[in-house]
């Protein structure tokens, strides 16, 4: 398998083989992070810049750990508000950092297409760490990795993604990846938070959580932002909880061995109660652990040969 890409921008453009190649590569790094000495010299002498224009705890720490465990040098650039307030454009910021001779940018930005903009203009590797509601490819890869680890396969599984599909990059990247690997994907949420024609991506749409959960092997709850109420998408957050919050009764409609996922951070008591988040069906923390291994694999594949 030849992975001949400079960048990882999204799952949409990846082939099934490329996805499986990353997941297989991640297995050997998963083993590394359980060692007492969790560090390999693979990326010694390479410099990775974490360029985060949106607040992030989990993803940034996960990338940072992955980079450290591969022995890369790291630069962190975080601004909660866009640096364009200072008059500098994203491209200009990146060009300036590039002039200091770095090898890779990990970009998190609130606008779709920003990693693509950098990828087109810059000769170094760009990893999309989330661009608006567009894609979050490493999240999908770690989710796929975790499902494979727990279920042994993805093909044929019934996977339900619940919540604010419209604004979710996690949903989009996962839909592409899960469909390419042969899962039956259902999305579920209020119609105001289901984007138009999403069926064409290969999913089935449900407005009833009960119907969506029936017979499910995996249920992935998405974070709901409090702002959606003020923006007019929902009558109230409490009404959302009435209809789309997970509980044991609803979960009983799924397969007995159903597993519960969440990309985090969890609004406990909103998407799901603490009992389920911390319960035996939850694999939320496994997702977090595997995230480091998957990101090590992505960095290794993109950078080791360059």
């Amino acid at each position: 398998m030849n992975f001949n890409r400079k960048d990882l921008l999204g799952i949409e453009s990846l082939s099934r083989e490329e996805i499986l190649f990353i997941l297989e590569t991640a297995k050997s790094f998963r083993e590394v992070i359980d060692r007492p000495i969790k560090k390999v010299p693979t990326l010694r002498g390479k410099t990775v810049v974490n360029l985060f224009f949106e607040s992030s705890t989990r993803t940034r720490m996960s990338f940072e750990l992955a980079e450290k465990r591969l022995s890369a040098d790291i630069l962190n650039f975080s601004v909660s508000t866009s640096s364009s307030t200072k008059g500098e454009t994203l491209l200009d910021t990146a060009r300036n950092i590039l002039a200091m001779k770095v090898d890779c940018f990990v970009l998190r930005h609130s606008t779709p297409g920003t990693p693509h903009l950098l990828a087109k203009e810059l000769p170094v590797s760009i990893i999309n760490a989330g661009d608006g509601a567009h894609e979050h490819p490493t999240q999908a890869l770690l989710d796929l990795y975790t499902i494979r680890e727990k279920k042994g396969k993805i093909e044929g599984l019934k996977i339900v993604i619940v919540g604010d599909i419209s604004h979710s990059r996690v949903a989009r990247s996962n839909i592409w990846g899960m469909c390419k690997l042969g899962a039956k994907v259902r999305v579920c949420g209020p119609p105001t938070l289901i984007p138009p024609l999403i069926e064409k991506m290969g999913v089935e749409v449900f407005y009833s959580l009960e119907d969506a959960l029936t017979g499910a092997d995996i249920v992935m709850m998405l974070r709901i932002q409090k702002e959606r109420q003020n923006e007019g998408f929902l009558p109230s957050n409490s009404e959302y909880i009435d209809f789309f919050s997970l509980n044991e009764e609803k979960l009983n409609l799924a397969q007995p061995d159903v597993l519960v996922m969440h990309p985090g951070p969890v609004n406990r008591g909103v998407e799901l109660p603490a009992r389920i988040a911390d319960g035996e069906k939850s694999i939320i923390l496994d997702q977090v652990t595997n995230g480091v291994a998957v990101r090590m694999a992505v960095l290794y594949i993109l950078l080791a040969k360059r």
């Binding site: 994203l90 606008t111 903009l117 608006g132 509601a133 567009h134 024609l197």
Partner: protein, 428 residues
């Protein structure tokens, strides 16, 4: 000393008189004097137009020249030079400048700049409302006296229905059209591309077709109520076309335009996040393009206009949400029409040229858009056989925000002539 310009041996095409013949055109003292085969008069200047097509100078009733206020994007001088390169001899500039054209002195300023620096004829459109705020009527009568050719709050829809009603009523005594930019901004909101499958995939906020259609429906109702003339700018959706067709059948005095770019690119073209595809109204679906083309054939849509909207590289280098809407169009319009409308056999060349000449002239009530003995000699000559590459450095517009960069397009304007004077000549 002989005088006059002789255009020899071209295929002369004039939609108004339905002329389509290989013949000569003789111009003297700024006017067309004779159209005939083998004219044998003495001349001071000769254009060999063999294998070329000689048409009335093109008219664009929808351009943004950005002056006053955004001279970094375009000026009357640079915009009119771009127009000349595109074969346009008359352009109407939209009033959403800074300040907006809502006062007779500003209309005069544009005429003054056009006289001193303009390469083509420039006719200013003035605002419907003062400061373009949609609250009170601009001094329309005085604006007309100063030379305004139409009224529009282009860039914004007049959301106040009562004000729009009064505007449509008031212009009846002025005999000038109201041009409406139909967009319900509560529906388009934060949208940056057409709402549909591709906005879903891109994770970008969508502009639904209904933002346009809701607005068109109201404006058609008000045009009917007032029995006044309404022209709809940049129509982009299939259902808009259906509404306009119905309105025309009902006898409502409505005319409409479509841009060359909306006939060419669909929303699938936005998938690479190129900000030169960010335009308002946005590129729609393939089915919309089909019906827009059909509407040219049945004359539901009367005019092709560019909505030439220059923006600097710095503005368009921003991300897709932050970059401004708008693309330039003057220098690619004729070629795109040839490619999408003529070569695809939607319209004959004659019918297509009518949408760019005599039709806008009639809507605007100007004595232009024809090649006829006695009229001002505004003439464009193009080579239908020449394929050219759209290159950034060749644009005469001050901006280069075109989604057609790198495209190979058919048909090259060779000469643009205004009042018998060559204002543009292509290099080879």
């Amino acid at each position: 000393m002989p005088e006059g310009l002789l255009i020899k041996g071209g295929r002369v095409l004039d939609p108004a008189s339905n002329l389509d013949e290989i013949c000569d055109v003789f111009i003297k003292e700024g006017k067309v004097r004779k159209i005939a085969r083998n004219i044998n008069l003495s001349y001071s200047e000769l254009i060999d137009a063999s294998d070329k097509i000689v048409i009335p100078g093109l008219i664009d009733m929808h351009v943004h020249l950005r002056e006053p206020g955004r001279e970094d994007e375009e000026t009357i001088e640079s915009g009119s030079r771009a127009a000349a390169r595109g074969g346009f001899t008359t352009v109407c500039c939209m009033p959403n400048t800074d300040p907006p054209i809502d006062d007779p002195s500003l209309v005069k300023f544009i005429y003054e700049q056009a006289k001193n620096k303009g390469a083509v004829e420039i006719l200013p459109i003035a605002t419907i409302s003062r400061r373009r705020e949609g609250k009170e009527l601009s001094p329309m009568g005085r604006l007309k006296k100063a030379g305004a050719i139409a009224f529009s709050d282009d860039g914004s829809w007049v959301t106040n229905s009562a004000l729009m009603r009064r505007a449509l009523e008031y212009v009846k005594m002025l005999n000038l059209p109201i041009i409406s930019h139909c967009e319900d901004e509560s529906l388009s909101a934060e949208g940056v591309m057409n709402e549909g499958y591709f906005s879903t995939v891109n994770g970008l906020a969508g502009i639904p077709r209904e933002a346009e259609e809701v607005a068109i429906f109201r404006d058609l109702a008000l045009a009917k109520m007032t029995d006044s003339s309404l022209h709809l700018a940049h129509v982009s959706t299939a259902n808009s076309v259906r509404l306009i067709k119905k309105a025309k059948n009902m006898g409502i005095k409505v005319t409409a335009e479509v841009t060359p770019h909306h006939l060419t690119i669909s929303d699938e073209g936005v998938t690479d996040f190129n900000t030169n595809t960010k335009v308002n109204p946005p590129f729609r679906g393939k089915e919309d393009i089909e019906l827009l083309k059909e509407s040219l054939r049945d004359n539901t849509i009367d005019v092709i206009a560019t909505d030439h909207a220059p923006h600097t590289v710095e503005e368009k280098e921003k991300d897709y949400e932050e970059a401004p809407f708008g693309i330039i169009g003057l220098e690619t319009a004729l070629s795109l029409v040839l490619r999408e409308v003529v070569e695809k056999k939607i319209l004959s060349l004659m019918q297509a040229i009518a949408k760019l000449t005599v039709n806008p002239a009639r809507i605007l009530g100007i004595d232009r858009g024809e090649i006829r003995e006695g009229v001002k000699a505004n003439i464009t000559i193009f080579d239908p056989g020449k394929v050219w590459l759209v290159r950034e450095e060749e644009f005469l517009s001050q901006s280069s925000n075109s989604p057609f960069l790198g495209w190979k397009l058919p048909g090259k304007v060779e000469w643009t002539i205004i009042g018998g004077k060559v204002v543009y000549r292509s290099e080879k």
